[in-house]
């Protein structure tokens, strides 16, 4: 193996090891936001108590939230009003204009498990393939995917979670993918 790749791999392993070893959560009184002088702080749930029981990640809240949901670690309510229609859509979209990066696979399913269609359509994304001028600068500025990713969903350091389809081995057509 090329020596450069070896060095890269070693550093990557060290860095990911350090990150996962660091899966601890600051107590609220030390987090820089909560006022330790507030007596009620004792009544609030500590992040470590809740999050340490959930599937581990190395970034964000250090929790794989989708896995936590899919595997039943958490059962968050879908609605408050009985009449609210809950829609979960299983439709993958592959975006090909990603420069030299791998193609982006956008899965509707995990997104609609958490969000309503209205949250993204048409406020953030028009419901049409290729109609949205999505680019990384806009995302890094907090628009498009960046409205959530980098703020509440997994952060923008995790390139390959979205850029997940290798261009050279992708034989299908970009856009809406056939149901699987």
């Amino acid at each position: 193996m090329n020596i450069k790749y070896c060095i890269c791999l070693t550093l990557l392993l060290i860095s990911s090891g350090l990150q996962s070893a660091e899966r601890n959560w600051k107590p609220l009184k030390d987090d820089g936001l909560h006022d330790p002088a507030n007596p009620a702080i004792e009544m609030l749930q500590e992040p470590a108590e809740a999050l340490s029981k959930l599937p581990p990640d190395s970034v964000g809240n250090k929790v794989l939230w989708n896995r936590a949901l899919q595997q039943g670690y958490i059962e968050p309510r879908t609605n408050i009003f009985p009449e609210t229609k809950i829609e979960v859509i299983d439709m993958d979209i592959i975006m090909e204009r990603t420069g030299e990066m791998p193609l982006v696979l956008f899965p509707h399913r995990p997104h609609t498990e958490w969000l309503d269609c209205n949250n993204c359509h048409d406020k953030i994304f028009i419901k049409k393939v290729d109609a949205n001028p999505i680019n990384m600068l806009a995302i890094l500025s907090g628009n498009y995917c960046g409205q959530c990713h980098g703020a509440v969903a997994f952060p923008l350091t995790e390139c390959n979670r979205c850029h997940s389809v290798v261009r050279s081995t992708f034989l299908g057509k970009p856009g809406v993918q056939p149901e699987h």
Binding site: C8, L11, L12, S15, L18, Q19, E22, W25, K26, L28, D31, G32, L33, H34, D35, N38, P39, A40, I41, M43, L44, Q45, P47, A50, L51, S58, V59, G60, N61, V63, W65, I74, P76, R77, T78, N79, I80, F81, T84, E113, W114, L115, D116, N118, N119, L137, L140, S141, G142, G146, Q147, C148, G150, A151, V152, P155, L156, T157
Partner: protein, 118 residues
């Protein structure tokens, strides 16, 4: 490689929990502590769509004009914080729990709002 080091660095320097929101448009002015809203706590119990669709919270810090009158009237936080689903809005200190002077915004390892804020 720099990027990996940077991302490790960010996670080492993380203080408050990812996606914690500070709400201080009105609190300091009214002599109460700013509100700390923890996304992690709420998403264990509710999907995003409950607050961001049913309850009408816009997904951008500072774009919701939340007042105690509205909450007492059952809007925004008051939909649940009514002593039925969650503690009532009369328990001021449980939500108004931040250090005085904090700036309104979303906190955590990374932030939206422009590359300059990373």
């Amino acid at each position: 490689m720099l990027f990996i080091t940077l991302s490790a660095g960010i996670s080492f320097n993380a203080t408050s929990e990812y996606a914690d929101v500070v709400l201080n448009q009105l609190s300091d002015k009214n002599d109460v502590r700013p509100v700390i809203f923890p996304h992690w706590f709420h998403r264990i119990r509710f999907r995003c769509k409950v607050c961001h669709n049913e309850l009408g919270f816009e997904m951008r810090v500072g774009s919701n004009n939340i007042t105690m009158d509205k909450i007492s009237d059952g809007q925004y936080c008051g939909m649940c914080h009514n002593d039925e689903i969650a503690w009532s809005a009369a328990r001021c200190d449980l939500c108004h729990s931040g250090k005085p002077g904090l700036k309104t915004g979303i906190r955590g390892s990374n932030q939206t709002g422009g590359p300059g804020r990373w």
